[in-house]
C-alpha cells in the first residue's frame, strides 16, 4: 500500500494549521458579541417585571415602565409596514416579472442599493425636509413612519425578489400556455408559491424598523410623553429612542433600567429574526421542486 510521503504529511499539517486559524478568527468574531449579550441579559433581567413592561415612566424617567415606548414602537412599525410592504412587493414584482435586462433596470437596482446604503441620519434629514416641513405633517407618527418605510424599503424588495425568483420558470410557462395573461399567472401561480418567502422578508423588516433610532429622532419620536398616541398625527415615544434617552440624557438612572430597556429591545429584534430564519428553514424543507 501507499505510504504517506513527506509531502503528504506536510500538506496535512498546513491544512489543519489553516483550518484552526480560520476557526479561531470566526470564534473571535462571534464570542465577544455572545459575551456582551450575556452581560446584557444578566444585568437587564433584574429590571424586567410586569410593571416594567406595562407601566408608565415615573420620577423623571428614573423609575417605572416602558409601556408608552412599546406602544409607540408598534404604531411606528405598523404604519411603516402599511407603506413599505405594498410598495416593496410591487417593485419586486416589476423587477422580477416585467422588467428586462436593460439600463433602466440597472438604475433601479442602483437606487435600491443606495436607499439601503445612505446613512440613517441622512434619511432623518430627508424626513424632516420632506414630511415634517414640506408636506406639513409636523413631527408625527406619519412623518416618522414614512421615513422608516423608505429607509427599509430595500429589505422588502430584496427578499420578495428572492422568493419570486425561487418560483421555477416552468410554472409560469405552463400557465402562459393555457392562455393566461401575465397578471393572472402572477396572481394565481407565482404569488401563492412566493407568499411564505415574502413573509420572512416582512418579518425581517419589522425587526429592522423596530431597532432604528436616528430616522425617528426628529420626525416623530419624543423623549417623554405621559400619554399614548391616538392618531398618526400625534408624536409618540419609541423603544429604541427610549434606550438612547435613559442611557445618555437622564441623570441618576438606576443602573439596571437602561439594561432592561436594551434587553427588551434586543429580545424583540432577535425573536423576530429567529422567527424569520425558522420559517425560511421550514419552507426549504417543505419545497417539492
Amino acid at each position: 500500500m501507499f505510504e504517506a510521503s513527506e509531502l503528504n504529511l506536510r500538506n496535512k499539517r498546513t491544512e489543519s494549521l489553516y483550518r484552526t486559524l480560520f476557526l479561531v478568527m470566526t470564534l473571535l468574531l462571534i464570542l465577544p458579541v455572545l459575551l456582551i449579550l450575556g452581560t446584557l441579559i444578566v444585568k437587564g433581567a433584574s429590571a424586567i417585571s410586569w410593571e416594567f413592561l406595562f407601566g408608565y415612566p415615573k420620577d423623571g424617567m428614573t423609575a417605572g415602565g416602558i409601556f408608552p415606548a412599546l406602544v409607540g414602537t408598534i404604531w411606528l412599525v405598523s404604519v411603516a409596514l402599511l407603506v413599505s410592504v405594498p410598495l416593496g412587493v410591487a417593485a419586486a414584482i416589476y423587477l422580477n416579472e416585467y422588467a428586462g435586462e436593460n439600463w433602466f433596470t440597472r438604475i433601479i437596482n442602483l437606487a435600491i442599493i443606495n436607499l439601503a446604503g445612505v446613512p440613517s441620519i441622512v434619511h432623518a434629514l430627508f424626513g424632516v425636509g420632506a414630511f415634517v416641513i414640506f408636506f406639513g405633517f409636523g413631527t408625527s407618527i406619519l412623518a416618522a413612519s414614512l421615513t422608516l418605510a423608505i429607509m427599509t424599503l430595500p429589505v422588502v424588495i430584496v427578499s420578495t425578489r428572492e422568493s419570486l425568483r425561487a418560483v421555477p420558470m416552468a410554472f409560469r410557462e405552463a400557465c402562459w400556455n393555457m392562455g393566461a395573461t401575465r397578471w393572472q399567472t402572477i396572481r394565481r401561480v407565482v404569488l401563492p408559491n412566493a407568499v411564505p418567502g415574502i413573509l420572512t422578508g416582512v418579518i425581517l423588516e419589522v425587526s429592522r424598523t423596530t431597532g432604528e433610532t436616528a430616522p425617528i429622532m426628529f420626525t416623530g419620536a419624543a423623549f417623554f410623553l405621559p400619554f399614548l398616541p391616538e392618531s398618526v398625527f400625534d408624536q409618540t415615544m419609541a423603544l429604541s429612542l427610549h434606550l438612547f434617552v435613559v442611557s445618555t440624557q437622564v441623570p441618576n438612572v438606576p443602573e439596571n433600567l437602561p439594561y432592561g430597556v436594551a434587553l427588551v429591545l434586543i429580545g424583540m429584534v432577535l425573536l423576530m429574526n429567529s422567527l424569520s430564519i425558522a420559517l425560511r428553514m421550514y419552507l426549504r424543507g417543505k419545497k417539492k421542486w
Binding site: N11, T14, E15, Y18, R19, F22, M25, T26, L28, L29, I30, V33, I36, G88, A90, A91, I93, Y94, L95, E97, I107, L110, A111, I113, N114, L115, G117, V118, P119, S120, I121, V122, A124, L125, F126, V128, G129, L153, T181, R182, W183, Q184, I186, T210, G211, T213, A214, M217, S240, L241, F244, S247, T248, P258, A262, L265, I266, V269, L270, N273
Partner: protein, 311 residues
C-alpha cells in the same frame, strides 16, 4: 377536416381582439408595479432634492467651501462669530471608520472563508444563522454597549481617564459591520463555481491550496465589494458613534482621544436649531456631503461586484 378547420380559424381571427377585460387588468397592474419599481429612483432623487433644498440658502449665502472643508473649528452656535469647519469631524469619522475596518476586515473575511470553505453541514448552518442574528443587533444597542460595557473596561485595562474614544467606537463599529461583511463575503465565495474547486482537487491540491490559489483569486472582486459595503456602513453609522466616541471635537492623535463624527454631529445638534437658521443649513450641508460620499462608495462597490459577474 383540414379545410373546415382552417375556415373556422380564419373566421374567429376576424372577431378576435386580445383587448378583453383581462388584458386591460394586466396592463393596469403592469403600470402599478412599474410605479413601485420607479419609486425607488424617485426616493433617491427625493432624498437629494429635499436635503439640498434645506441646505441651499446656507450653501449660497454663508458657506465658504474652503473653510468648510479645511477648518477644524466647528462652533455654529456662537452668535457673534460662528465657525463652520468640518475637518475635525471628518477626522473623527475617518479615524473611527479606519479602526473599525482594521478590526472587521481580517475577522470577517476569515470567518467567511471558514464558514464557506472549511465548515460543513450543521456547523456551517449554525454559524450562518449566528452571523445573521448578530447582524440584526440595532445600532442604538451597540451604542449602549459602548457606553456601559466597553467604557469601564477600557478605563480599567488601559488606565485612561475616559473610555469613550476612537478605540471604543472603532471596536463597536467593527463588531457591528463584521457580520454583514461576513455574509456578503461568503456569498462572493459561494459564487465561485464548484467546478473550479473540483478541477483543483483533481490535480491533488489540498483544501487550503484550493482556497488560496483558486477560490480567493476568483472571488477577489466580490470580497472587495464586501469590504466597501462595510466601509459604507461604518461611515454612515450614527447612534453607535454618537454614544461611544465621547463626542468632543478633536483631531485625534491617539486611539484614546475622544472624537466627534459627522453623522453624530447632525444627530446631536439638529434638535436644538431653528428651522432655516445658518446652523440648521450647515447640518443639512453635512447631510449632502454624507449623501454624496456614500453614493460614491455604493456605486464603486456595485461596479466592482458587477465586474466579476461579467468575467
Amino acid at each position: 377536416m383540414a379545410g373546415s378547420g382552417k375556415a373556422i380559424n380564419a373566421e374567429s381571427a376576424v372577431e378576435f381582439d386580445r383587448r378583453n377585460t383581462d388584458w386591460y387588468v394586466d396592463k393596469a397592474i403592469q403600470a402599478i408595479v412599474f410605479v413601485g419599481g420607479i419609486s425607488t429612483i424617485i426616493f433617491v432623487i427625493g432624498i437629494f432634492v429635499f436635503i439640498t433644498r434645506e441646505g441651499l440658502t446656507f450653501v449660497f449665502d454663508t458657506l465658504d467651501v474652503k473653510e468648510f472643508l479645511t477648518s477644524e473649528y466647528w462652533d455654529p452656535s456662537d452668535e457673534d462669530a460662528p465657525e463652520y469647519g468640518i475637518l475635525a469631524l471628518i477626522a473623527g469619522t475617518a479615524s473611527v471608520t479606519g479602526l473599525a475596518m482594521v478590526v472587521a476586515i481580517p475577522f470577517s473575511l476569515g470567518a467567511a472563508v471558514f464558514i464557506g470553505e472549511f465548515a460543513t453541514g450543521k456547523t456551517r448552518e449554525f454559524l450562518k444563522v449566528l452571523v445573521e442574528l448578530l447582524a440584526a443587533i440595532p445600532s442604538v444597542v451597540w451604542g449602549f454597549i459602548g457606553l456601559s460595557i466597553m467604557n469601564p473596561l477600557i478605563i480599567e485595562w488601559f488606565n485612561v481617564p475616559v473610555g469613550l474614544n476612537v478605540l471604543n467606537a472603532g471596536i463597536i463599529l467593527g463588531l457591528m459591520a463584521a457580520p454583514i461583511m461576513t455574509s456578503i463575503a461568503e456569498d462572493a465565495l459561494k459564487a465561485v463555481p464548484d467546478r473550479y474547486r473540483e478541477a483543483a482537487e483533481a490535480m491533488g491540491a489540498t483544501r487550503w491550496q484550493v482556497i488560496y490559489k483558486v477560490v480567493l483569486p476568483a472571488a477577489k472582486n466580490g470580497l472587495l465589494g464586501a469590504v466597501l459595503l462595510g466601509v459604507g456602513r461604518a461611515f454612515g453609522e450614527t447612534m453607535a458613534v454618537l454614544m461611544a466616541t465621547g463626542h468632543s471635537i478633536n483631531i485625534p492623535t491617539s486611539v484614546f482621544d475622544s472624537v466627534r463624527a459627522l453623522t453624530a454631529t447632525i444627530a446631536a445638534e439638529l434638535g436644538e436649531t431653528a428651522v432655516g437658521s445658518d446652523h440648521y443649513g450647515a447640518l443639512f450641508t453635512i447631510g449632502i456631503f454624507l449623501f454624496l460620499i456614500t453614493f460614491i462608495i455604493n456605486l464603486l462597490a456595485d461596479l466592482v461586484v458587477r465586474g466579476v459577474r461579467k468575467g
